[in-house]
Amino acid sequence: MRVRNNIIWKIIKWAGSLKLALVLVIALILLSFTALVIPQQSEFSSVDIELWSGQNSGLAFFSGALGFFSVFRSIPFLIVIILFAVNILICTILHLSGLKESSNYKRKTGIRTIGFLLLHIALIGILAGGFITTALGKDGSIILTEGQVFANKTENYIKFTSGSFSSRKDKDFRVRLSKVKIKYENKVIPVKVVTTLDFKSKTEEKNGVDIEINKPYSFGGFDFTQNEIGFSPRIIIRDPQKKQLMLNSFVALKTFREGENWQYRDFLPLPFLKNKVILTLFPDHKKDGNVITKTSELAGQPVLLFEERDEKDELVSSGVIPFRGSFKIGDYLFEFADLRYWASFRVVDDPGYIVFGLSIWLALFSLILRYSEDLISLFKKETESSSLKGVKK
């Protein structure tokens, strides 16, 4: 055919070739390596990324320009994924239409061909679903202390990413964390965490909705999945001399897990203090001299350890505040007024999930169909004459 010699045909053939597929696989491997080497926005805080950028200024410049601080949302990655979809699509069409001269591929049975066709349609579906979510979806994280209300505004999220084509307008809804219930085994390891949420929008209201890890809830087009939990002590700081209230707030302490040893601590940014203050909570404790040991993860007799540290991270002063007690640091009186749980949630708008979800099932089914003959032959017992029964004597 004359048409097969022109430049367009050559481009089509190249776009559906295995050589391009190999190049794309290698590109994916390199991009994944990049994501392992360069700190990702999804895993590291902006402070950590800035610190890393200061130490690796050259690499940071290129990373910033190419969007490699979020590799899997970067333009190079999207190009690779789109090329993959094009490659699979063209390759499928060429093989099924018989236009491609494949040396070894023979359509032995109908099942294999159907499997091949469905599998490649499913792969395109998977890529399309992923692309819809990346382009139109929203993904945020929120932290709520018991009793706190979250209003759905971009600036209220702790982390927030949205697709280039997603709606800029925030949906109007509110979420309130009313309660956190945790069941511990041996007072140490949490085995069940239930958070109760109240949802409210202009058209809908749902109160007392229980969410657990692995059991998400959908409201207003968003899926709410429960993530981390921790403690939020309420800290009140007063200046007794000036009779001034300096702070009255819940502070969500970070939860650090080192095996079974969980620690609840964070540093408290106080603009009126020269030194930094680090808070460590012991939900339940025993005191042996000056040494405090945590005895349980359940809030029984909680205490807060205050540490004031200078620029060189050396300890200036420290003190232990019992629950509903107070302690003086410098000119200020610190009060441990209340203790509640906080819980973090991932709030996701995933518009591609139906396409993606159906496609992965279709892919699995068609893959089994495609290789059904090989699978059946694998489970048939070999005759004694086969040399695979052992090494030839």
Binding site: I213, T225, R346, S386, S387
Partner: protein, 271 residues
């Protein structure tokens, strides 16, 4: 209970190591009897391995699929199971055990070094998809390991100065077919592992796919094996070329199983 488990665990390690040594001697010096003794020792080791898993399951009150020790214990069990099964069916030559068995006790040792703990199942693991995900991950690894074993022997046989021992191996065609069939089996198990993981991830993290390093490496390995299958079907890459691909595939998969944690933080605990 823990002492019994430790005793059985070391018994398993010892028997797998003994299997390997006897098999190696039998294979190298053509001692057929030693080879058949090693087969029985492998089966006995597998029984001890099963008992170790059951005791750990009873002690922890959940299937051993949550931490590094448990994942390696369960995973290696599935690896040995499919090797014994397919060796019985005549689809995997017993000499492939020279690759599968040392891999198994290395994985068991790695798991043991991470620490043996009896602890309850955390909320994140309380999903039926966990079992599916873990079982198929290891069935995939086991299948790929058998395939790599066949590929290694194929490469040894095809060497210009191959020794008499390797010349007496099953024919290159049969080794090539074994390698291909087990990659197909591994590929399907790998696909089930990824699909079950994606469904679980949707419930746990809100997205089917989170581009976590471990997820990404697993996908890279999957794409690599997809390339293997395509290269075989459409480019006629067989024998030595496909054997090298099979060996490289297992290395990529091993990175996704054990190596990813070394690179940085991951939300996905691996073996």
């Amino acid at each position: 209970m823990k002492n019994a488990e430790i005793f059985l665990f070391w018994g398993t390690i010892f028997l797998y190591a003994l299997t390997f040594i006897l098999h190696m001697i039998g294979f190298n010096w053509r001692k057929i009897k030693l080879e058949s003794i090693s087969k029985w020792i492998l089966k006995f080791g597998f029984i001890l391995h099963t008992a170790t898993g059951i005791i750990h399951w009873i002690s922890s009150k959940h299937p051993p699929v949550t931490d590094t020790y448990e994942l390696n214990l369960t995973g290696v069990w599935f690896m040995i199971l499919i090797f014994i099964l397919f060796e019985y069916l005549g689809k995997a030559g017993y000499m492939i055990g020279l690759v599968v068995v040392p891999l198994s006790f290395l994985a068991l040792g790695y798991g043991y070094l991470s620490g043996v703990y009896i602890k309850p199942m955390g909320p994140a693991f309380q999903s039926p998809w966990l079992i599916v995900h873990v079982i198929f991950a290891w069935l995939a690894f086991g299948s790929y390991a058998i395939s790599t074993g066949a590929a290694i022997f194929l490469l040894l046989k095809k060497k210009k100065k191959a020794s008499e021992t390797f010349k007496k191996l099953p024919s290159a065609d049969e080794l090539d077919l074994t390698e291909y069939r087990f990659i197909v089996l591994g590929f399907i198990n790998h696909a089930i592992m990824i699909v079950s993981g994606a469904i679980w991830a949707k419930k746990l993290w809100g997205h089917y796919w989170n581009w976590d390093p471990l997820e990404t490496w697993s996908l890279i390995a999957f794409l690599f094996y997809a390339f293997y299958l395509h290269a075989r079907s459409f480019l006629n890459w067989k024998m030595k070329r496909s054997a090298w691909l099979a060996v490289a595939g297992l290395i990529i998969l091993a990175i996704s199983f054990w190596g990813v944690g070394l690179f940085g933080p991951t939300i996905h605990p691996g073996p």
